[in-house]
C-alpha cells in the first residue's frame, strides 16, 4: 500500500542539506575575505548575517545557532580592528557586533519557527494522505485482514520501530479467532489482549502505564452496541516515556480505520448468516408441512383399513377383507415411494453429494420404469417411444429411474384412467461441438397445468390446487406431487441437466428432463 511508503519523519537532516548550509556559510565568508579592503566593515557584517541566515534554511536550529555564534566570533577576530584578537578598539565596532548578534538571533528564531511550521504542515499532509489511502483500501476490501500488513508497516514507520498487530479473524471473540501479525513477547501479548478486550490504549501519554517503552492502541470499531475493539496494535518507541501526542493520535486514527473495517465485515457476515439461516428455516418448514400433509393421507387410509380388519374381521366376508388388505398394500407402497423421494431430496440437498455415474442405456432405464408402472397401474395405456441409435448416458441409474418413476406416477395419478401416458426419449438439438444431449419426456393428455404454475409446481411446498390447476376427474389434491416433482428437478440438476414442464398442443403436459451429452466410450474390441 502506498501509505506505508510515505514515511513521516521528524527532521530530514540529509547530507545534502548539511552541504547546502555549509556552502552558504562558507560562501559568505569567501566574499567577506575576498572583498576585504574593497568594501566597508558594515558590508562585510551584512554578508555575515546573510550567510548565517541562508545556512539556517538547511541546517537544524542548533547547528544554525552554533554557526551564527562562530561567525560572530570569527568576524570579531578576523575583521574587526585590531585584527587577530577578540579585543575591540572602537565602541562603534562593539555596537556593530552587538547589532549583528541581535539581528542573527531574531532572524534565526524566525527561520526556525517557519521551518517548524512547514515541517508540521508537510507531516499533516502526509498523515492525511496515509489515512485516506488506508481508508480507501479498506473500504473496497471484502477482507480487511488482507491489508493488515500495510497497517503494520505504516505503524512501524511512524515510530521507527517494529510494530505488531492482534486482529480478530471472526466474531465472536475466541482464543483461536485472532491473528497475530509481527512478533510480541509475553508481556506485550498480554497488553494487546487487554487492549483488545477493554478497548483502551496504554503507554506514554495515555494515562495508563506511562512508564512503558511502547504504545498499545486498540483497533476501535466505532459506536453502537459493538465490541470495544476488534484488535490491538503494538508500537515500539525509541525509549520509555518518549513519543508525542500528535503522533499517537495519528496512529490511533490508522488503527481505528482497521477496526471500523473489521466491524463492517463482521456485521455484513452476521447479516448474511442470519438471512441464510432464515431462508433455510423457511425451506425446512415448508418441506415439513408438505411432507406431513403428503404422509397423512396414505397413513389415514392404512390405519382405517387395518383397524377395520382388526375390529370387524370376523364380520367381514372374504372379499371385503381382500379389498381392505389390498388398500393397505397399495397405500403402503405409496408411502414407501414418498419416503424414498423425501430421503433422496434431503440427500441431494446436502452439499457435496456424489452421484454413482455409469454408462446407462436410455432404453433400459425406460424399460425398467415401464415394467414397474405396469405393475402399479395395470390396465393403463402406457407407451414408450425411443429415437433409434440414442447415445449412452453417463448418469446414476437409480436416480434417473426414480425421476422417471415419479413423472410416470404423477402423470398416471392426475390424468383420467383412459388417457394415455407416453415416455419419449430423443436426442437434444446439437449445441456447438458438445456431444448431443438427450431429452427424456413423460407426456400425458390430462387437463394440463396452468402456465402460471408451471415453474412453481417443482417447488417442494407447492401442490397444484384442485380446480385451479385442474385435476380432471381425480378430485383428490395432488398428494405427494410436492416432494415427488421437487426431487425430480433435484435429480436432473445433479446431473447438470434441467427438468421443465411444457404444455402440449391439444392439451396435456410434457415433463421434459434435459440431460447434457457425454463423449461416448470406446466400444468393445474383438469379437462382435
Amino acid at each position: 500500500m502506498p501509505a506505508g511508503r510515505a514515511t513521516i519523519t521528524a527532521d530530514r537532516a540529509a547530507p545534502l542539506a548539511w552541504a547546502a548550509g555549509a556552502a552558504a556559510w562558507g560562501g559568505a565568508w569567501l566574499a567577506m575575505l575576498g572583498l576585504d579592503g574593497t568594501i566597508a566593515l558594515a558590508h562585510q557584517a551584512l554578508l555575515l548575517v546573510l550567510g548565517v541566515a541562508l545556512a539556517a534554511l538547511w541546517w537544524p536550529a542548533w547547528a544554525a545557532l552554533a554557526g551564527g555564534a562562530l561567525g560572530v566570533l570569527a568576524f570579531n577576530a578576523l575583521l574587526v580592528p585590531p585584527r587577530g584578537s577578540l579585543w575591540i578598539a572602537r565602541w562603534q565596532d562593539a555596537l556593530l557586533l552587538a547589532l549583528i548578534a541581535a539581528t542573527l538571533t531574531v532572524v534565526l528564531g524566525l527561520i526556525t519557527g517557519l521551518r517548524r511550521q512547514a515541517r508540521q504542515a508537510r507531516q499533516h499532509q502526509l498523515q492525511a494522505e496515509q489515512l485516506r489511502q488506508l481508508g480507501e483500501a479498506l473500504r473496497d476490501a471484502s477482507l480487511p485482514l488482507a491489508h493488515a500488513g500495510a497497517l503494520q508497516a505504516a505503524l512501524a514507520a511512524l515510530t521507527r520501530g517494529p510494530a505488531a498487530l492482534l486482529l480478530c479473524r471472526r466474531w465472536p471473540l475466541a482464543e483461536d479467532s485472532v491473528d497475530t501479525i509481527g512478533t510480541a513477547d509475553a508481556d506485550e501479548t498480554a497488553g494487546l489482549w487487554h487492549a483488545l478486550r477493554q478497548g483502551q490504549a496504554m503507554g506514554p501519554g495515555t494515562g495508563r502505564h506511562g512508564e512503558l517503552d511502547h504504545w498499545i492502541l486498540p483497533l476501535r470499531g466505532g459506536s453502537g452496541p459493538a465490541p470495544a475493539a476488534l484488535g490491538a496494535a503494538l508500537l515500539r518507541l525509541p525509549g520509555p516515556g518518549r513519543g508525542d501526542d500528535a503522533l499517537r493520535a495519528h496512529a490511533q486514527a490508522l488503527c481505528d480505520q482497521m477496526g471500523v473495517a473489521l466491524q463492517r465485515q463482521f456485521s455484513r457476515q452476521a447479516a448474511e448468516a442470519a438471512t441464510a439461516q432464515a431462508q433455510l428455516q423457511a425451506v425446512r418448514n415448508a418441506l415439513l408441512t408438505a411432507i406431513s400433509h403428503d404422509y397423512r393421507t396414505p397413513l389415514a387410509t392404512i390405519l382405517g383399513a387395518a383397524s377395520a380388519l382388526q375390529d370387524q374381521g370376523p364380520r367381514l366376508d372374504a372379499q371385503q377383507r381382500g379389498v381392505l388388505a389390498g388398500r393397505i398394500v397399495q397405500e403402503a407402497g405409496h408411502l414407501a415411494r414418498l419416503a424414498d423421494n423425501t430421503l433422496q431430496l434431503a440427500r441431494l440437498d446436502a452439499p457435496g453429494v456424489v452421484l454413482r455415474r455409469d454408462w446407462e442405456s436410455a432404453e433400459e432405464l425406460v424399460g425398467t420404469v415401464l415394467r414397474r408402472a405396469r405393475q402399479r397401474a395395470p390396465g393403463r395405456a402406457l407407451r414408450a417411444r425411443l429415437e433409434p441409435g440414442l447415445p449412452l448416458l453417463l448418469c446414476d441409474a437409480m436416480l434417473l429411474t426414480q425421476l422417471l418413476d415419479n413423472l410416470v406416477d404423477n402423470a398416471l395419478r392426475h390424468t383420467p384412467p383412459d388417457s394415455p401416458v407416453e415416455l419419449l426419449v430423443r436426442r437434444a438439438a446439437a449445441a456447438g461441438d458438445a456431444p448431443p444431449g438427450v431429452v427424456l419426456a413423460v407426456r400425458d393428455r390430462g387437463p394440463g397445468i396452468a402456465p402460471a404454475w408451471r415453474s412453481r409446481i417443482f417447488e417442494v411446498f407447492q401442490r397444484g390446487e384442485p380446480g385451479q390447476v385442474g385435476s380432471g376427474t381425480d378430485s383428490r389434491p395432488r398428494s405427494g406431487t410436492g416432494v415427488g416433482l421437487a426431487v425430480c428437478r433435484a435429480i436432473a440438476r445433479a446431473h447438470g441437466g434441467e427438468l421443465v414442464l411444457r404444455g402440449r398442443n391439444h392439451g396435456g403436459s410434457s415433463f421434459e428432463c434435459h440431460l447434457p451429452g457425454a463423449v461416448q466410450p470406446v466400444p468393445a474390441e474383438g469379437s462382435p
Partner: protein
C-alpha cells in the same frame, strides 16, 4: 423334509412378521438379531437358506457371508438373500459381488420374498453340482450344451459374445447377476469397469430375443446393480 431358514434381522416387528409368514409356508425358521448370533447359528444349525438384513448394528455381514462360503461341506453354498434399504446400494452390490445370491429392497412383499427364496433354493448346489444347462421361458429355449437358442421354435443366431452373455444369465436364471460378475465372466477380469460393453450387448440380445426391446419381458434390468433373466419354467420332462 422341512427346509431351515436363518433370518437375520434386527428389527423385532419385521423379524416376527417374516418368521410367521415363512412358518405358514412350511419353513423351519430360526431368527437372529445380530451378526454374532447369526454366525453362531449358521455354524451349528446348518440352515438351508440365509436371509440377511444389511445394516445390522454389529457389522456389515461380509464376515458371515465369507464364513458361509468358506465351508467346503455340503452347506458351503448355502444361498444368502440380502435384505437392503433403498439407499444401501454400495454395500448390497459389494456383497453380491462377494457371492450373495440375490437381494430384496425394503419394503418388499411376502410374495416377492417367497419367489426369490424359491429361485435361490433351486440354484442351491449348482456351485458344486453341474450347472443349469437348459432354460425355457415364454417361447425362449436355450440349450447351453448344444449351443442352441430358439425363439418360438425358430433358431436364433447369436454372436459368440452374445451367447456367452446369455449363457451366464441362464446359469443364474431368476437371480440378479451384477455388472461386475457379467463383465468378469464374459469379457475377463480386466474389463469389470466397462459397463458400456454390457449396455451394447444387452441391447443386441434384446433386439433378437424380446418382442419389444424397450419393454423387455425376459432380460430384465436391475438399475445400478446388474441384470436378471426371468425365472425359467420347469422342464416338462
Amino acid at each position: 423334509m422341512t427346509l431351515r431358514v436363518l433370518l437375520v434381522e434386527d428389527d423385532a416387528a419385521l423379524r416376527n412378521t417374516l418368521r410367521d409368514a415363512l412358518q405358514v409356508e412350511g419353513y423351519g425358521v430360526q431368527t437372529a438379531a445380530s451378526l454374532s448370533e447369526a454366525r453362531a447359528l449358521a455354524t451349528h444349525a446348518a440352515p438351508d437358506l440365509v436371509l440377511l438384513d444389511l445394516g445390522l448394528p454389529d457389522g456389515d455381514g461380509e464376515a458371515l457371508l465369507a464364513g458361509l462360503r468358506q465351508r467346503r461341506s455340503a452347506h458351503g453354498n448355502t444361498p444368502v438373500l440380502l435384505i437392503s434399504a433403498r439407499h444401501g446400494e454400495q454395500q448390497k452390490i459389494h456383497l453380491l459381488d462377494a457371492g450373495a445370491d440375490d437381494y430384496l429392497v425394503k419394503p418388499f412383499s411376502v410374495g416377492e420374498l417367497l419367489a426369490r427364496m424359491r429361485v435361490a433354493l433351486r440354484h442351491r448346489g449348482t456351485r458344486l453340482a453341474p450347472a443349469i444347462t437348459h432354460h425355457r421361458s415364454g417361447g425362449l429355449l436355450v440349450d447351453l450344451a448344444a449351443h442352441r437358442v430358439q425363439l418360438h421354435g425358430a433358431d436364433v443366431h447369436l454372436t459368440p459374445t452374445e451367447f456367452k452373455l446369455l449363457a451366464r444369465l441362464v446359469r443364474s436364471a431368476g437371480q440378479v447377476v451384477t455388472h461386475r460378475q457379467l463383465l468378469a465372466d464374459v469379457w475377463g477380469a480386466e474389463h469389470v469397469d466397462h459397463t458400456h460393453y454390457l449396455r451394447l450387448y444387452m441391447g443386441q440380445l434384446r433386439a433378437k430375443l424380446e418382442a419389444e426391446p424397450a419393454e423387455p419381458q425376459r432380460l430384465l434390468t436391475e438399475p445400478g446393480v446388474g441384470y436378471r433373466l426371468v425365472e425359467g419354467e420347469p422342464d416338462a420332462d
